[in-house]
């Protein structure tokens, strides 16, 4: 339960970090909060020869609303979301979701961007990113690119990020007051990784759903939006029957993973339930 030896590098600027990544290549790794990487190193599932510590790169420690986006710097910790980081439905959703991520002490160190880079299939932040349509801003010595969440998550622990790239920032759209959001997760105990979870954002006008974003996490090897369920909702009045149809569409579309915690049939069942409940939560008290 001790990590294999590595050399330690603690740059204090972004440029120095990118230089390390450019030369460090395959056997170097960034450490942010360390709340996923260190356990993997202790189990020796990860054995980086060189560790590049992000914590001293102060210019990446920011979290602010700007031009319709919430800009989440690479050093923004989970705990920064204990209170809504911006107004409106996006801020409310983030403050609701963060309570499901690990535990209080882990949330003091773990980072939003680290979760995105790690890409656990049951990561709540990855689900929010996929559902809201986040932009992942990746930087290397060669320049910057912005990757849409839909193209970023490839499979379990696998993303479109290159080894020489750093996530400098994740951007989430700040939804206006016409939207409602909801989130529901099923896990065995508080703080455990979820077995199934759904995040939703709906734009509702005069009691009718005009736009729908429905994302499911923990069920397939990466979180993803559910087009069939979204189509089942758009144009429908906000009502139990429409929610049930969307939940059925999710259950019909997902190809669930199987593991120690749940087989495919159980995950499918849970995904249906978390979807229905997330939709109910989004529309609770809306006079439907």
């Amino acid at each position: 339960m001790k990590p294999a030896p590595f050399s330690y590098h603690a740059p204090s600027t972004l440029d120095a970090m990118l230089a390390l990544l450019a030369e460090g290549g395959e056997d170097g790794k960034v450490i942010a909060g360390g709340q996923s990487l260190v356990p993997m190193m202790n189990f020796r599932l990860a054995r980086p020869a060189r560790l590049f510590d992000l914590n001293g790169v102060a210019e990446l420690d920011f979290l602010r609303a700007e031009g319709g986006w919430l800009r989440i710097g690479a050093l923004a910790r989970h705990a920064a979301f204990h209170r809504p980081p911006c107004g409106g439905p996006t801020g409310a959703l983030l403050a609701e979701v963060v309570r499901h991520i690990a535990h209080y002490p882990i949330r003091q160190r773990g980072t939003f961007a680290g979760s995105i880079a790690h890409a656990d299939p049951a990561s709540e932040w990855c689900l929010v990113a996929a559902t809201l349509g986040a932009e992942i801003v990746a930087r290397s010595r060669a320049g910057e690119r912005r990757i849409g969440a839909g193209d970023f998550f490839l499979a379990s622990l696998s993303t479109a990020l290159r080894p020489d790239e750093l996530i400098v920032e994740v951007r989430l759209p700040i939804l206006d007051a016409g939207w409602r959001t909801g989130f529901c997760e099923f896990s065995r105990r508080v703080g455990d990784f979820g077995i199934a979870m759904t995040a939703v954002a709906l734009r509702v006008e005069s009691g009718v759903v005009r736009e729908a974003r429905i994302g499911v996490g923990g069920v397939e090897d990466h979180p993803a939006r559910q087009p069939a369920a979204e189509q089942a909702l758009v144009g429908q009045p906000v009502a139990a029957r429409a929610f049930a149809a969307a939940a059925d569409a999710v259950a019909g579309a997902v190809r669930p993973m199987e593991d120690l915690h749940a087989d495919a049939a159980y995950r499918r069942h849970l995904a249906r339930t978390t979807t229905r409940r997330a939709l109910e939560q989004a529309c609770a008290g809306s006079g439907s």
């Binding site: 050399s7 709340q35 202790n42 309570r99 882990i106």
Partner: protein, 166 residues
């Protein structure tokens, strides 16, 4: 070229005292406290973030000392269970754990004490539900948790009363 086995000079500022130690980069903060500083009050259960036995305060915030490298804690104020009472009388949390039977074997106790100390200092008026949620971060195989919750509640009251008098 540096070798990964080269030791780094690290200063750990624990409970108000500086410990100058030399450690490999891979040394965890928890191991450094125990092996290099001789402060064995911080316990290690799982070494992968699950049990919370290793909880200490860094910059006043509870963290898992098994998931932080000693070198990352260089120069930052650290508090461990040894610092709660020091040489003086027991800390109100320690008294309350004794009075409310908040411990049996005691293995988890340093972690719970530091978790609770960090939380009560930051949120003295924390509600019951929020407190339970935070205490769920740590595992205890003996008490069944109810007395731990009671003890932290009792300590919160005593700390507030003492502050009111002071």
């Amino acid at each position: 070229m540096t070798s990964p086995h080269d030791k780094l000079a690290v200063t750990l500022a624990v409970n108000g005292r500086d410990y100058r130690i030399a450690v490999e980069p891979r040394r965890s903060l928890a191991d450094a406290l125990r092996e290099d500083c001789g402060l064995t009050g911080t316990h290690l259960g799982c070494e992968h973030g699950y049990c919370g036995a290793c909880t200490v305060l860094v910059d006043g915030v509870p963290v898992r000392a098994c998931l932080m490298l000693a070198v990352q804690a260089h120069g930052r104020p650290i508090r461990t269970v040894e610092g709660l009472a020091g040489d003086g009388p027991l800390h109100p949390l320690q008294e309350a754990f004794r009075d409310e039977h908040g411990l049996q074997c005691g293995f988890c106790t340093p972690g719970f004490l530091m978790l609770a100390a960090g939380v009560l200092e930051r949120e003295p008026d924390i509600g019951d539900e929020a407190l339970r949620e935070i205490l769920s971060a740590n595992l205890c195989r003996c008490t069944g948790y109810q007395n731990i919750v009671k003890a932290v509640r009792a300590a919160a009251r005593r700390i507030k009363e003492a502050a009111g008098r002071g």
